[in-house]
């Protein structure tokens, strides 16, 4: 897996280079088979990627199913009067989704397409929306059950998140078999715990004049895991527009990422996709399960109250994080429109109350940062998946 160290300098999109080989020329894409017509901005910050890992023959992102999404919906999946999920229905949704994605005849066979008993599997959850919108206990439990069912030992299954205090709040352990590893890189978001990160695998960038210019990959990801399942939620995000597959796997696997957005400005446009493209994260993230049982349409990624919580009651399956996030953009945008809220694409200074989270929480027509939903399109320029909606195939399944 290791080879000699290589350093790539990504000087904005003009010279963006995808690990899968998609090249974007100085004034636009000369060849962009996954992305269609790209409109990548110029004047982006220089991002330097340092990694000793080479990509797999077929990197996990976009994996074997670029541009393909299975969306399983069920009105019975969540009781919207209480927010409680129905475990049995969720299991059925998971089974139908995995079989639909792979075309396998059985659920176990569908899981075997991605994992073998020798794999060390990481499950990247999202705990930021506690208590009302986190990666659902029912989905996580079913994921673990299926992995065990195809022979992956419990000792080789890791549920991970960056911050221990968030994992403690969500407390998955009572819902999961004893022996499964639950791992965080840091105790909390305090910028003091770096030991959980790989000092040799990182993104280096000076975004706002910060002195600590590195964002390092979790050691668990680079040193231990062989495969990763990404289980994000359907959420709005104040800096990125939405937080879905890309944001969850990128910002949830690297250190020191909050530095990318402050003072009304967000560099997430290029940083999210670039982080997701760094090896070995890109190659090892082989399955995307977007938990849309519950969602957050404003003030995300947090959900301390139910004020902005809604219930899409669906789960999306795929290997292409860009395609799923492209659909998520529409889901959040449509919900916001329905609620009379500002578009996630709004860049008007008049909507901006810089860093005023209280105003943002009170009013869905307030931004605290100019959002960058274009990060999804940018990620496609790095070869991470299909952005062009016309080229995304969605298979709808109702349970």
């Amino acid at each position: 897996m290791h080879r000699r160290a290589f350093v790539r300098l990504l000087a904005a999109a003009a010279s963006a280079k995808a690990t899968a080989g998609v090249e974007v020329a100085a004034k636009g894409p000369s060849r962009a088979p996954l992305a269609g017509t790209l409109q990548i901005r110029t004047g982006l910050p220089a991002l330097k990627v340092v990694s000793r890992y080479s990509p797999a023959a077929i990197p996990g992102m976009p994996g074997p199913y670029p541009g393909r999404v299975v969306a399983v919906k069920s009105d019975k999946s969540v009781d919207i009067s209480t927010g409680a999920a129905n475990d049995e229905v969720v299991r059925e949704m998971m089974a139908r989704g995995m079989r639909g994605l792979t075309g396998a005849g059985t659920t176990a066979e569908a899981w075997r397409r991605f994992f073998t008993p020798s794999d060390v599997v990481g499950i990247k959850v999202n705990c930021g929306g506690y208590p009302h919108c986190v990666s659902a206990y029912e989905i996580i439990a079913e994921t673990v059950r299926q992995l065990m069912g195809i022979g992956v030992p419990l000792t080789q299954i890791y549920l991970y998140e960056r911050f221990q205090n968030q994992l403690d709040e969500v407390n998955y352990a009572p819902r999961l078999p004893e022996g499964l590893q639950i791992v965080a890189a840091e105790r909390a978001n305090r910028n003091t715990d770096n030991s959980g990160y790989d000092p040799a695998t990182y993104l280096e960038a000076d975004l706002f004049g910060e002195e600590d210019t590195r964002s390092n990959m979790m050691r668990l990801v680079s040193k231990r895991l062989t495969k990763i399942i990404n289980i994000p939620n359907m959420k709005d995000h104040g800096a990125t527009g939405v937080t879905g597959c890309l944001k969850n796997i990128a910002y949830g696997s690297f250190s020191n990422v909050a530095r990318t957005h402050q003072g009304g400005k967000s560099h997430t446009y290029s940083v999210v996709g670039t982080l997701a493209s760094i090896e070995p994260l890109r190659s090892r993230t082989v399955l995307q399960i977007m938990d849309g049982l519950r969602g957050v349409w404003h003030a995300g990624p947090f959900a301390r109250t139910t004020k902005y919580v809604f219930y899409p009651r669906q789960i999306m399956f795929g290997t292409d994080p860009v395609a799923i996030d492209r659909l998520l953009l529409d889901i959040i945008e449509n919900k916001r429109r329905e609620q009379g809220a500002l578009s996630i694409w709004d860049r008007s200074p008049s909507s901006l109350k810089m860093d005023n989270t209280r105003a943002r929480d009170a009013d869905p027509n307030v931004n605290i940062i100019i959002r960058e939903p274009g990060h999804v399109e940018y990620a496609s320029s790095l070869g991470l998946g299909v952005y062009d909606r016309a080229r995304i195939t969605v298979q709808d399944v109702t349970v």
């Binding site: 003091t192 715990d193 770096n194 030991s195 000092p199 040799a200 002195e211 600590d212």
Partner: protein
């Protein structure tokens, strides 16, 4: 890397103590052996086995008073977690190495103050809160046990000291960013960057925002050319000494919380090294590599102070 002219010998500061000999047990329990005391108490403490320096009220008053080192909240100017406001005195010691100083430090900050003065070889007296004796004693014991090393400070740029307050604040912010500077009286040909306040290159108006000014200097120097980089914290300030063959790096953690896995990059190739970490002792460096003409390594943990020796 450019060795500066002035060599400072590190020495631990002494604790100013006015309580009577009945407080001896508290000092001994804290392993504090060196005191500065009023003249009339010198003999008593010496007979009790302490190393004592006499100091008068007038001498104490004549010393430059230093603020308590640490981090503080400054709404709108500093973020509490990412880039807090740091009160540090290293730049003062660099600017006036021969001056005499006195700290009056709040409880919990004595150890940091002692380490700070030691790191810069400052002639400093500590007025500490009695509740802080154990912490101060612990770091004093650590300082006494460090291998003696006598190396000149290393700088990447020069600041021409015009004595002004604005230049002082620029030095403060340069130090805050670990931009290693030497204070000179006239521009030095040994440095590519000489900051002359009020010159065309460095107008006074620009220095009105010292943080932005320091950032400009950083851009001129470039991160690649910096002798020292720190990753994993925004609250560690360093003093670097060396002669091209050896390096001694002092790391001061102003944040008040232990930091794990701090990553350090020093330009130059150093194959051997060790860390002396206050509270943990002598430890090997972790994940040490030499890459692109620089030596990188991590520290398992730093509380207040650590010294790194590289060869």
């Amino acid at each position: 890397m450019t060795p500066a002219v002035l060599v400072l010998l590190a020495s631990a500061p002494c604790v100013y103590w006015t309580q009577g000999i009945e407080s001896r047990a508290a000092l001994e329990a804290a392993a504090i052996k060196r005191l500065c005391v009023p003249l009339d108490q010198v003999d008593t403490w010496r007979r009790a086995g302490f190393t004592v320096s006499p100091i008068t009220e007038a001498e104490l008053a004549a010393r430059e008073a230093l603020p308590t080192p640490g981090v503080t909240a400054r709404a709108g100017l500093a973020s509490p977690t990412r880039s807090p406001w740091i009160v540090a005195n290293g730049w003062r010691f660099t600017r006036a190495p021969a001056a005499k100083y006195v700290y009056t430090v709040a409880a919990g900050k004595g150890a940091l103050a002692a380490a700070e003065a030691f790191a810069y070889g400052a002639d400093a007296i500590l007025k500490v809160d009695p509740a802080d004796l154990r912490g101060v004693g612990s770091v004093m014991t650590f300082l006494d046990g460090l291998p003696a090393v006598d190396l000149p400070p290393v700088a990447d740029l020069a600041v021409v000291d015009d004595g002004s307050a604005i230049t002082a604040e620029v030095m403060n912010l340069l130090a805050r960013r670990n931009l290693l500077f030497q204070v000179v009286q006239t521009p030095s040909p040994r440095f590519r960057i000489n900051i002359v306040m009020g010159s065309a290159a460095y107008p006074r108006e620009e220095a009105g925002d010292p943080s932005a000014f320091a950032q400009k200097i950083r851009g001129q120097l470039t991160d690649e050319q910096r002798t020292l980089r720190i990753y994993g914290s925004e609250v560690v300030i360093c003093r670097l000494t060396g002669d091209g063959q050896r390096i001694r790096l002092h790391l001061l953690n102003y944040g008040g919380r232990d930091i794990e896995g701090l990553r350090i990059r020093v330009r130059g190739t150093y194959r051997n090294g060790e860390a002396h970490i206050a509270g943990a002792g002598r430890l090997p460096l972790e994940d040490q590599v030499v890459v692109d003409g620089a030596t990188e390594f991590s520290l398992p943990r730093i509380a207040t102070y650590a010294v790194i020796d590289l060869r």
